[in-house]
Symmetry: C2
Subunit: 204 residues, 2 copies
């Protein structure tokens, strides 16, 4: 029987990181849009979004202790507002570049060629026009994971913009294949989605 020690024995640090980064399976991938006090727009790539609850609508994001998108966290701490912007195969290569390190004064919308888009009464938090699903969140609470100093940031959904109305089914569920959304495993492996089936909702 092959167990963990067989996989990781004598393997290098990169092998171990890739193994554990991809172990938990696929998840949705998002560009998080924020803006600094000085007005600099920022985008960061996140795959650690977790559903916390539907009423009130709460979503959680995991922030690594010294990770690349630290501007995102600083901006959220300042403004309390952030956007989630979905990623399709058309946007994938450009979106993946938002994980690169940029300087604090660099506007990642301009640098990468994304178009800023704003929810009506929130002119100070940019969303990505090209993303088919955009979510506006307000910071609610955060939790420090003692075991590795990551932070869980919980936000409440304030508004949502969906490009294709037909993606919202008659029962309220959103079809992510219609929106062309991708999933990601670890930091680098992108997957396309095919909607297989909807189970009975009798247990909801």
């Amino acid at each position: 029987m092959k167990t963990l020690s067989n996989y990781l024995k004598d393997e290098d640090r990169h092998f171990r990181i890739n193994f554990f980064n991809t172990l938990s399976g696929v998840r949705s991938v998002w560009m998080v849009g924020t803006q600094s006090k000085a007005g600099v727009k920022n985008l960061g790539l996140f795959n650690s979004l977790v559903h916390i609850g539907a009423n009130p609508p709460l979503l959680g994001l995991i922030f690594r202790p010294h990770s690349v998108p630290r501007h995102t966290l600083e901006n959220i701490n300042e403004s309390g507002l952030y956007t989630l912007n979905s990623v399709t195969s058309e946007l994938m290569h450009l979106a993946h570049r938002t994980a690169e390190k940029f300087e604090a004064h660099e506007d990642e919308f301009e640098l990468l060629g994304f178009t800023p888009w704003y929810f009506g009464s929130y002119p100070n938090v940019p969303a990505v026009a090209e993303s088919p699903l955009k979510i506006l969140l307000r910071y609610v609470e955060k939790h420090l994971i003692a075991a590795n100093q990551t932070q869980l940031l919980v936000g409440e959904v304030i508004d949502v913009h969906i490009k294709v109305d037909a993606a919202v089914q008659s029962d309220g569920s959103i079809d992510h294949q219609i929106l062309g959304h991708l999933a990601v495993s670890g930091l680098n492996d992108y997957y396309a989605l095919s909607h297989l089936l909807s189970m009975s909702r009798s247990d909801d």
Copy 2:
């Protein structure tokens, strides 16, 4: 412009729940295996797994305040151990039934026809033989989300079992299409995965 109020206005409670349950996109889906002090084996369906870190390898699970899989949480509180068992299209219909309500004395492995499988030195925490990827975790810490009384449970990966060695790539990353894994959106919408591409790992 159509925003949140347009989608949810005049809609019923189910529409709202489905909308927000599926808003955050797809995620991996798992059967969580536990065992009570009395030796009753339990399976619960979870789609709220989040990667917390690779070193040490930590995974988080969200538990709703009064959700169906409360036996899972009780068993973890008692034993400190639990397994994550992946779901394929072959297992999907049976796996989905682990979300149903069962009595505390009912063994869900027996009732649903799953085969218990054990990590070598852990005979008191069942995994699902049929799942191509099985993960053994030990409870580390938990956090109460004040906004809606959900709990984030953080566990450390103790061991892993993968049925198909070829799913572990030369760089350590796991290919979830090779393992036949599905993703889920909300509680009921299942998606198949196609591995599109692996981006450069130069930024790792």
